[in-house]
Structures are given as structure tokens and as C-alpha cells.
């Protein structure tokens, strides 16, 4: 018989847990070893002594303090798992609106910046007119032989418009007070204005 099986049989006998089959097996063992029964009886007596002499329950010293100390630890554990909720300020309740307001502010600042960076008409004229410290006419009026040619390059995605026959108007002319007698006016402008006031 295997050693483990024998040990199991012996322990079950001590604990009175043998089945009828196992009892038969153990009886055979006892016949072979005459000292076995005495050994088992001594073991059984010892087990009973341990059972009676070693208490299953012993109150810990200062048992009330044991509970209070433990419950304090439990409370700390609970607090560490559920930290106290922060007091919510009124503006925190509008958290949902932060994103659209932010987007709106971004759009407004874009347009404001765009407008600031766009110079007024006069400034544009002045700025574009000053190239290489020379004053260039930037306002034109249609001349007598006005021609326009469009050169388009579909592959390159480029179009060039060539306009011929434009008469330059000096940018120091104030059109608010201009009359047909104003000097340096293109002739075509003068005649068209004359037609308008006829």
C-alpha cells in the first residue's frame, strides 16, 4: 500500500472518518503491525488533549480598544477610497459652456486681428505706392484704347491678366474735391466726369 494512502487511513481513523472499505484496509494493516493500534490510540488521546487544552478562541487584550482601533483604520480606509467632494463654485457649474465660449472667442479674435492687420484704403495706397523710394501711381482710370488679355495656363493653374490703356491717376489727388479743372487728371476721366454733370 502506498505511504500516502496509509497516512490517510491512519489520520481518518484518529478522526473517526473512515468509510467501511477503509476500515477493512486498516484492519489488514493492524494485523500486519501489532503496535499500530497502540500508536493510533495514543495519537487519538493526544488529539483530544490538544482539543481541550488549546482554546479555540481567546479574546485579544483590551478587546474594546481592539475594536475601536480597527474601526478607526476602517474609517481611514473608507475616506481614502472616497475623498471628500470639492465644493463646486458657481462658475464650475457652467463648465459645459467653456468649449463653445472658447471657440467663439477664438473666432472673434481671429476677425479682430484680421481687421487690425488690414490697413485702410489710404494706407494701402501709400504702402503699395512706395517701392524703391519712388512714388508710383496706383489708381488707374480707363484710357481711350483699353485692352485686356487673359493668358491662362490650365496645367499650372495660373492666369495672367494684361490690361493696356489704363491712365494712371496720381494718388495726391483728392477725389472728394476734384473738379474737371483739377490738374493731372486723365483726359478720359475729365471727359467722363463732364458727361456725368451735363
Amino acid at each position: 500500500m502506498k505511504k500516502e494512502t496509509t497516512e490517510e487511513l491512519l489520520m481518518k481513523w484518529v478522526d473517526a472518518k473512515l468509510s467501511s472499505d477503509e476500515e477493512t484496509q486498516l484492519a489488514t494493516l493492524m494485523e500486519e503491525d501489532l503496535g499500530l493500534k497502540d500508536e493510533l490510540l495514543a495519537m487519538k488521546t493526544l488529539s483530544e488533549s490538544v482539543r481541550t487544552k488549546v482554546p479555540a478562541s481567546v479574546e485579544p487584550p483590551y478587546s474594546d480598544f481592539f475594536n475601536s482601533q480597527l474601526m478607526r483604520k476602517v474609517d481611514l480606509e473608507i475616506k481614502s477610497q472616497h475623498p471628500a467632494k470639492k465644493v463646486e463654485r458657481w462658475w464650475q457649474s457652467l463648465r459645459w459652456a467653456w468649449a463653445p465660449v472658447g471657440a467663439l472667442a477664438l473666432v472673434l479674435s481671429f476677425f479682430a486681428g484680421h481687421r487690425v492687420s488690414q490697413p485702410s484704403h489710404g494706407e494701402l495706397s501709400k504702402r503699395s505706392a512706395v517701392v524703391g523710394d519712388s512714388l508710383l501711381p496706383t489708381v488707374y482710370f480707363a484710357g481711350e484704347a483699353l485692352e485686356a488679355e487673359v493668358i491662362s495656363d490650365a496645367e499650372g493653374g495660373v492666369s495672367v491678366i494684361v490690361v493696356n490703356g489704363l491712365s494712371a491717376i496720381r494718388d495726391d489727388i483728392d477725389f472728394a474735391t476734384v473738379t474737371t479743372d483739377t490738374p493731372h487728371l486723365p483726359r478720359t476721366y475729365r471727359s467722363s466726369e463732364a458727361r456725368r454733370f451735363q
Partner: protein, 208 residues
Amino acid sequence: MAPAGVSPEAGANEQEVPDHELIKACQKGDTRAFESLVTRHRGKVYAMVQNMIKNEADAWDLSQEVFLKVWKALPKFEARAKFSTWLYRITHNVVYDWLRKRKIDSAGELDDGVLNQSDIAAGSRTSPSVSARPDQALANSELGERIHSALATLNAEHRETILLREVQGFDYKEIAKVMNCSLGTVMSRLYYARKKLQSLLSDEKRND
């Protein structure tokens, strides 16, 4: 809904509330129910730990640790398992962690080295306790103290097996669950623990 209002000092009424109801209440966060559960089981846990490590102060601290772990693990506890088996499994883990730590600290042996009487006196007391009357003490001291001394000499596994079987009355399967080992290992440990205990006590008797 009895567990919710259970007072740990409720005495007889508290005993009527079964463990599983207290456990359900604990799982809902009822700390009063947990305290009742602690009051009910602290003696057994403390006795087990004290018998395992033979030091009252450490046994007190480790028992606290056991119950704190129980509180943390209770939400995961399933009613299919027996609460006492589960409780002793946690106790087992806490005690063995302590033994391992002690082994590392002292660079000693885990088994007989850490737990034998030369290292820890079986009757060592680190907190005050009530003494028995002299006549009772005399009657109890002989066999009782010899058994305690002999138990202290066993290694941790053998001692735990004996305590779970003889003192706490666990069956073999429960012991296997608590100690996380096979049934065969339990039978073998029980056999050798009983044999060694018997041998120690007969040696002592012979010496007397």
C-alpha cells in the same frame, strides 16, 4: 434589515444575526455590521495568530491587519464560500507574510528556525493578562503547558495543520483551502505533525 443597526455590544441579539446577513450589510458599507462581525470572530482569529507566532503584541497587530484585509476584501467575497474558511485563509496569508518578513529581517530559517522555542519563548507575554488562580494554574499547567511548548516546536505548516484540525475543528478539505495545498499534503502534514507532537510529549514525559 437587522444588520444595519446591529450594535457590537448587543449581546444575545447580535448572536442571532447570521454571518451571511452581517456580510451582506458590510458589503453595502455598513461599518456597524462589520464591527459585529469582528466582535464575533476576533477571539478565534487572535487565538490562531497567537498560537502561530507566540507573541501577544504581534498577534494583536496581526489580528488587526487580518480584519482590515477582510474589510477591504469583503466586496469580493462570494456567499458560495464559507466565511470562516475565507477568514482563516486571510489569517494564514497575514501570518505567513509576517513570518517571511521576519525571516528576511533576521536572515533565519522560516520553519523550525523562526518558530522554535529558542527564538521565541512559548509563554512570552508582551501585554498584561489575567493569571489563573494558583490551584487552577497548577492543574492546567502540566499537560496544557507541555502541549503549548510542543506546539511551539513544530514548524509553521505542521503547527497550523494541527491547530486548524484539532482546535478549530476544520475538515481536511477546509484545511486544504486555508493552506492552499492539496488534500494529500494536508493528510501528510497532519500525520507527521501528530507523530512529532507525540514524540515531543513522550520525550518530555521521559525526562520528567
